[in-house]
Every structure is written in C-alpha cells, then in structure tokens.
C-alpha cells in the first residue's frame, strides 16, 4: 500500500462532524418489530429488534456501531439498505425522507459489505460477473466500459487480474471480502454499510481488509457505517461510535471522546472487555452479571439494569433519559440531572 496513508490520521476524527450540516444519512425514531414463534405450540410474540433509533451520519464520517450479538445492528443495516422496511420511523438521505419506491435509485448511493465472505458471493458466478452486476442492473455503460470498470476495481482492492475468470470457491476468505468490496464500490456509492466485514476473518487477514477500507475511504471520500462487536477495530477506523444495547443506542460520541471517557456502564464494560495482548494483565472483571437479556422479553426500565454494576432503583422501573453531551449523548440515569 502507499506509504502516504499514514498521514490520514489527522483528517479522521470529527473531520466532517459539523453538527449543523445536514447529515447524509439519518434515522429518526426507527423501530423494527419482528413476530417470532418460539416452538410450534406458542403464538408468535413481538420482538423489538430496534426500539426507536435516532442516528445521524455525516459526510465522510465513519460511524462505528458496536453492541453485542442480537442487539439489532444488522437489522439497522438492512433498513438502511432497503432490505427491510422499518416498522415505524423515517430514514432520511440528505435530509430527505426515502420511500420504499426510491430504493433502487438509492442503491447507487448506498452499498453493503457483509460479514460472511463465504455466502456473500454467488457461487455460480464468475468474479467478473459478480463485480459487474451492479453496472448491468443499472444499465451503466457498455460491456467494454464495464470490463474496464471491473479491472479498475480489482486494482483498487488489490486483487490480481487473473481472478476475474475464477469463481468464489477458488478464493480465500480475504480475497472474497475484497471482491465484495469491489462489487460495493463499482457504482461509486457515497455510503458503504459494512456489517462486521472482518469478524469472520483471521487477524492476519482482518488487518489487510481494515487497511484497505481505510485507504479507500481516503481515496474515494466514502462515508461508512461500520458495524462490529470488536471495539478495538472500531477504535481503529471510526470517527464516531454508537453503542447499541437491545435495540437502542445507549451512547453516542466521537471515537476519541468515547474511548477516553466512556459514560454508560455498558460502554465501560465493553471497553474493559477488550483484551489487549499484554501478558502483564490478567483477564479483567467486567462486573457484569450473568443474566443475559432476552430480546423477546426485555427487562423493564433500563434494559441494561440486570447486568449493571451501578444499578439504582430507578433503573428497574423507568427507562433512562436521553442525556446530551458536548458531542454526543448517553441514555443513562447515572448521568441524568441530579435526582430531585
């Protein structure tokens, strides 16, 4: 990779986070409810995968979205991609509400990179066909110009030209993820939704993909929604971080701020759980209880209270308030204005 990339660090944090600018992408009170059946004999129950999410992504931001498995990260990504319709709430692009009808137009602006490099490529298609698919679907250019675009993308993601005629099964996980990235970028989108793009990869490959994503953002001026459960990875790439717990954003702040001073107990626990390869440390005690949340039957009040080390009485009954901070917010009784 080019050595110039080292200078980007200055540009990254908060570069575009002008609070007053219109965000490219905004979620306003988005909820998503699934009806799920547990076992054959019971009636379906509502599962609130997203419970009123408000989120803004500004141009050239990398919004890291962290949270544990099943908290609704992928659901959010799917809603942004138009793969699922929100149960309520709005999705706005450039301040304009997006209706389902316009999704195909939006497909040019928002593109996904998924988690599993093994299932994200159609095994029956050659790499060339896979990368060219968006162009074909949107009827962009003729076959010659498409071939050129595909070649360019291969260079961009660092794959050799000879894989073009190959099939996904001939590639390693990292190479496949590069193909997926090439497919996402071939339409020159503005926003890329990365849903855990590296969690299925070995660390040695993960770093390659992370580097690539960083470089591409620089070169193409992309905006990322970067979903991960690995805080270290998020810190590395994100400019802003949103922490999600059971379908709600519990804390949101610029990356540097959040890592320097996590305010929500859950964020704190998350940070503590990051295991840095330091043989002088032992496994940390996160002070979290072993009661794992059930999204079908979420705890009352603050969803986090059964695991929270700093739980107060009020947490058990009252949903936490929305406490705005200097550059973000936290939803927690601890940070609410002192009790009456």
């Amino acid at each position: 990779m080019s050595p110039t990339t080292t200078t980007q660090a200055a540009a990254a944090p908060g570069a575009a986070s002008d609070a007053n600018a219109v965000p490219v992408l905004e979620l306003a009170g988005v909820t998503k409810t699934y009806r799920v059946k547990q076992g054959m004999f019971s009636a379906p129950k509502p599962l609130h995968a997203l419970g009123g999410v408000n989120l803004k992504i500004h141009r050239k931001d990398v919004l890291g979205l962290v949270g544990e498995s099943g908290c609704g990260k992928s659901t959010l990504a799917k809603i942004l991609l138009g793969l699922e319709a929100p149960t309520s709430g709005k999705v706005l692009i450039d301040g304009r509400e997006v209706t389902a009808r316009e999704r195909t137009v939006l497909a040019r602006r928002i593109q996904p990179i998924f988690q599993d490099p093994y299932s994200s490529l159609n095994p029956r298609k050659s790499i060339e066909d896979i990368i060219a698919l968006p162009l074909v679907v949107h009827k962009i250019g003729d076959s010659a110009s498409r071939a050129k675009a595909v070649t360019r993308m291969l260079d961009l993601v660092g794959l050799p030209q000879r894989v073009l005629r190959g099939y996904p099964n001939q590639l390693s996980g990292g190479q496949r993820q590069r193909v997926a990235i090439a497919r996402a970028l071939v339409m020159n989108p503005e926003i890329v939704i990365c849903d855990e793009p590296t969690s299925a990869l070995d660390v040695s490959v993960q770093s390659q993909i992370l580097n690539l994503l960083g470089d591409l953002r620089e070169e193409l001026g992309l905006t990322y929604l970067f979903i991960s459960h690995n805080l270290a990875v998020v810190e590395h790439l994100a400019t802003r971080v949103a922490v999600m717990y059971l379908g709600k954003i519990v804390e949101e702040a610029p990356a540097s701020e959040l890592f320097a001073g996590p305010r929500h107990p859950y964020t704190q626990a998350l940070l503590e759980s990051v295991l840095t390869p330091d043989p002088n440390l032992s496994v940390p005690d996160t002070h979290l209880g072993a009661t794992y949340p059930n999204p079908i039957d979420p705890p009352s009040g603050c969803h986090f209270h059964p695991r929270c080390a700093k739980v107060m009485d009020i947490c058990k009954t009252t949903p936490p308030p929305h406490v705005a901070g200097p550059q973000g917010h936290v939803d927690c009784h601890l940070h609410a204005a002192p009790a009456r």
């Binding site: 137009v105 497909a107 994200s120 159609n122 190959g166 099964n169 001939q170």
Partner: protein
C-alpha cells in the same frame, strides 16, 4: 520489498466449480453407471428402427408367444420371442422404451414446471404466498395419488396424453417441497441480500441469483420424479388403466404378459427387468447428482 519466493498457494488453487463437478461425476460409480445405462436405453429407443426389422404393431396370430432365444423352441427371427398376438417382443421392447421415456420426461416436465413455480414463489415471497402454496401442497399430499390417477384415467380414457397429463398434475408436490426449502435456504444468503441492495429486480434475483443455486436440486427431483412417473404408469397399466394398447408401453407389456406369468414367465420378466433397469438407472443418476452437487460436498 522484493518478494522472489514462489507462491505455493497460487499453484494449489482449486479448480473451477465446473471442473470439480466433472471430476466428481466421474468419480461416482453409481452416477457413471446410471448415465451409461440411460444413454444406452435412449440410444436403443432412438435407433429402434435400425435395430430391428420388425414392426412392433405387426401381429401374426400363428406365431404367438414364441419363447426368447435362450429357451427351447425359440424362433431365430424373434430374438426375444413374440407376445400373445405374435408381435415381435424385441421390437415392442425397443419402441416401448420411447413410450416409457416420453412418459417419464413429459410427466416430470409438467410437474416440474408447476412444482417449481409454486415452490420458488412460496420460498421467495413467503408470507401469504407461502401459506397458500403450503396449503396446496397439503391438499395434494392428502389426495391418494394412485386412486385419483385411476379415477381420472378411468373417466378420460387412457391415451398417452391423458396419462402424461394426469401424472404431471399429480406429481408436482415433491418439486414444490424441495424447491421451497432450497429457495428458503438460499433466499437469506448474503449474496441475495447484496443483489437486492444493488437494486436487482425480483425477477432477476429469482432467475439469475437463486435459480442457478437450486437448479441442481431441481434436476435431482426431476430425475427421481421421472422414475416415479414411469413406475406409476406401469402400475396404472397393470391395473388396466394406463396407456392404451397397442402402444407398446412397458407397463402395458407387463400387464399383458401377466396373464401368462405362471406359464411363460419371460413375458413379464423381459419388460419387468427392462423397467427395473431403466428406473434403476434414472434413480442412480438422480442419487448420484444429489451426492455430487450436495452443498456439503461443494467446494
């Protein structure tokens, strides 16, 4: 930095899916056997006029039930003997292969079209469509096939077309079930989501993204249903309600030979064995294809 070391990984790259498939096919004895036998039967059926001078419909009442060549009293003119009207058994067997193959093929085609359309719709769209299709599958499964087929053929008469249509209209359930579940499996894979996010039309997603990945299951079911249709036709013929004579269907030949089975067993043994081999070959082909293309074997 200079990297002069030979890249081991590059040389050991796996071959393309087509190449793997080819290799698997030839490594699978059952499949190879099935293909070989089926090819032979198809060839025999196609070149029947070249292989026997006899007309399968020409009767000779004076030369009835001549035994086949391995039995005493055989007529060298009729290698496999003659039937109860003195028609050449070999000629009937060869021309009969056409009928049996055609029945299997067209019945599978009709049921395949119906079942696949329903199964894919149910699997892909889910919700109401799925409910309706599942309901229809249930209705279909609840109907006793042999009984209904018999009833319909009894009403409409047993012309080849009727038999093929009845079988086609009755055997779509497995297509629907298999297609539904395979599409359900593929539907939520990420490349389908990716295609949706790219903005592909539903038609395109179904035809280009999903179908190529489930078509192997379709082929497997199609071969098995083909065998099923052939057997069912034979059973209908046996019960006297299959294809009409003098059409030389194998099922009909068994049913005609059945009369004399205790005295001239070869009359049912020959078409019976032919039927058995054909169905066996088709089943082996289907099983083999399943083994070869099963997802757990895929690279």
């Amino acid at each position: 930095m200079a990297r002069t070391i030979e890249t081991v990984a590059e040389d050991l790259r796996t071959p393309s899916p087509a190449a793997i498939l080819r290799k698997r096919i030839f490594g699978h004895y059952g499949l190879v056997f099935g293909i070989a036998v089926l090819t032979i039967i198809v060839a025999l059926a196609l070149f029947a006029p070249l292989l026997t001078p006899h007309d399968p419909y020409a009767q000779d009442l004076m030369a009835r039930m001549k035994p086949p060549f391995w039995m005493p009293g055989a007529d060298p003119n009729h290698l496999l003997g003659t039937d109860f009207l003195g028609r050449d058994y070999l000629a009937r067997l060869l021309y009969g292969a056409r009928i049996s193959l055609a029945i299997g093929l067209f019945a599978a085609l009709i049921s395949g079209l119906i079942g696949t359309a329903m199964g894919v719709a149910a699997g892909y769209f889910g919700g109401r469509v799925d409910l309706v299709v599942t309901f229809l599958i249930n209705v279909r499964l609840a109907m006793p096939v042999v009984l209904v087929a018999l009833a319909v053929v009894a009403i409409l008469g047993g012309s080849l077309q009727v038999v093929v249509c009845v079988l086609g209209l009755l055997l779509w359930d497995r297509f629907a079930v298999v297609m539904r579940s395979s599409v359900l499996q593929v539907r939520d894979l990420e490349y389908v989501n990716a295609a949706k996010a790219i903005g592909c039309s539903t038609r395109r997603i179904i035809l280009r993204e999903i179908m190529p990945n489930v078509v192997n299951n379709l082929i497997v079911v199609a071969t098995l249903e083909m065998a099923h249709a052939i057997l069912l036709e034979a059973a209908l013929s046996f019960l006297g309600l299959g294809v009409q004579p003098p059409t030389p269907s194998w099922g009909l030949m068994i049913s005609e030979g059945k009369q004399m089975m205790l005295f001239e067993p070869w009359l049912i043994a020959i078409p019976g064995v032919a039927l058995f081999i054909l169905v066996l070959a088709i089943n082996l082909l289907g099983d083999g294809l399943r083994d070869v293309t099963a997802p757990e074997n895929r690279g």
